[in-house]
């Protein structure tokens, strides 16, 4: 793997995944769609961490440990975020975040 694929390719794939996720998080109206974009971004970051670990310091276990912690946090974030989506749906009868503007000045 290391000899065949340069590190830059993997980083480019991860960057593309991150930017697609950013676009989704910024421009989706549906709250669940926004959370999906955030999950894509977290996946891209994990991919970066694992790639750096494999190429730059494969003998230390820091990379997998870090990415496992990020997966944990992502799962917690998904649970809380989707619970909030359901709470918003109960109060507003919609999950389109441009109609949920109670905090707008």
């Amino acid at each position: 793997m290391i000899e065949a694929v340069p590190l830059e390719w993997i980083l480019t794939v991860a960057a593309a995944l991150f930017c697609i996720g950013l676009f989704g998080a910024l421009s989706r109206r549906n709250a669940v769609g926004i959370l999906m974009g955030i999950e894509l971004m977290l996946n891209a970051i994990n991919l970066n961490l694992v790639a750096f670990w494999r190429y730059l310091s494969p003998l230390s276990s820091t990379g997998p440990v870090f990415s496992l912690l990020i997966i944990t946090i992502a799962a917690a974030e998904a649970a809380v975020g989707l619970a909030m989506v359901i709470a918003v749906y109960r109060a507003w009868q919609t999950v389109n975040l441009d109609t949920v503007d109670a905090l707008k000045g």
């Binding site: 793997m1 065949a4 694929v5 590190l7 830059e8 980083l11 480019t12 794939v13 960057a15 593309a16 995944l17 991150f18 930017c19 697609i20 950013l22 676009f23 910024l26 421009s27 989706r28 109206r29 669940v32 769609g33 999906m36 974009g37 999950e39 894509l40 996946n43 994990n46 991919l47 694992v50 790639a51 670990w53 494999r54 190429y55 730059l56 494969p58 003998l59 230390s60 997998p64 440990v65 990415s67 496992l68 997966i71 944990t72 946090i73 799962a75 917690a76 974030e77 998904a78 649970a79 809380v80 989707l82 619970a83 359901i86 709470a87 749906y89 109960r90 009868q93 999950v95 389109n96």
Partner: protein, 200 residues
């Protein structure tokens, strides 16, 4: 051998990128969720290609197994407002597109390709019988979690507990006033009172 790995990498990366593009572009949110799981799976395959087996397994367990089910539940509980009929993007979605494209094309990719990565030379295995492992394996990850990363490990479990309680509190917020949870003694007293009422 190298060309096989390269082709495999290309296929997996193409699957990741196409699935991610479908996630942000399809109108039906259920289809977007299914494409999201495809993307998660492909990222797991890339982890396997990068020889991070444990991370790949956890990716499949947590993302494909748990997060996907959560997302599907959230979609189905809010089903009739997520149909195909309405516009799924903001009216100013091109702002997000410009931002993402600029970040990708003008900042990240030039930085990645200009940077000189000091990749250590691959270790040459001379005696295959008693060769040192080249990559940290599952046992090393377990030792790391139990030794130098014990505090982050515990904090992560605390975060999971807080997220669990927080999610339940947020979702059941409006019902807590109505629902009264009785202790065993109270429910027994209530039952006594009701049976006394029936006797009269």
């Amino acid at each position: 051998m190298e060309i096989v790995v390269q082709i495999l990498f290309m296929l997996i990366s193409a699957l990741i990128i196409i699935a991610a593009l479908m996630v942000v572009s399809v109108k039906n949110i259920i289809h977007a969720a299914l494409w999201l799981f495809t993307s998660f799976f492909a990222v797991g395959a890339l982890y396997l290609l990068l020889e991070a087996e444990f991370v790949a397994v956890i990716q499949v367990l947590v993302y494909v197994g748990a997060v996907s089910i959560l997302v599907l539940f959230a979609i189905m509980l809010t089903r009739h407002v997520t149909g195909e009929g309405q516009n799924q993007l903001y009216s100013r979605w091109w702002l997000g597109l410009i931002l993402a494209l600029t970040l990708f094309g003008a900042i990240i990719v030039p930085t990645v390709f200009k940077q000189k990565w000091n990749i250590p030379a691959p270790t040459v295995v001379t005696e295959p019988q008693n060769a040192e492992p080249v990559v940290a394996g599952v046992a090393d990850i377990g030792k790391a979690f139990m030794r130098e990363y014990l505090l982050p490990f515990e904090v992560a479990s605390l975060v999971l507990l807080v997220a669990l309680i927080g999610a339940i509190v947020v979702v059941f917020e409006e019902r807590t006033e109505r629902r009264v949870i009785l202790t065993l003694a109270e429910s027994w007293a209530l039952r006594q009172k009701e049976s006394a009422k029936v006797d009269q």
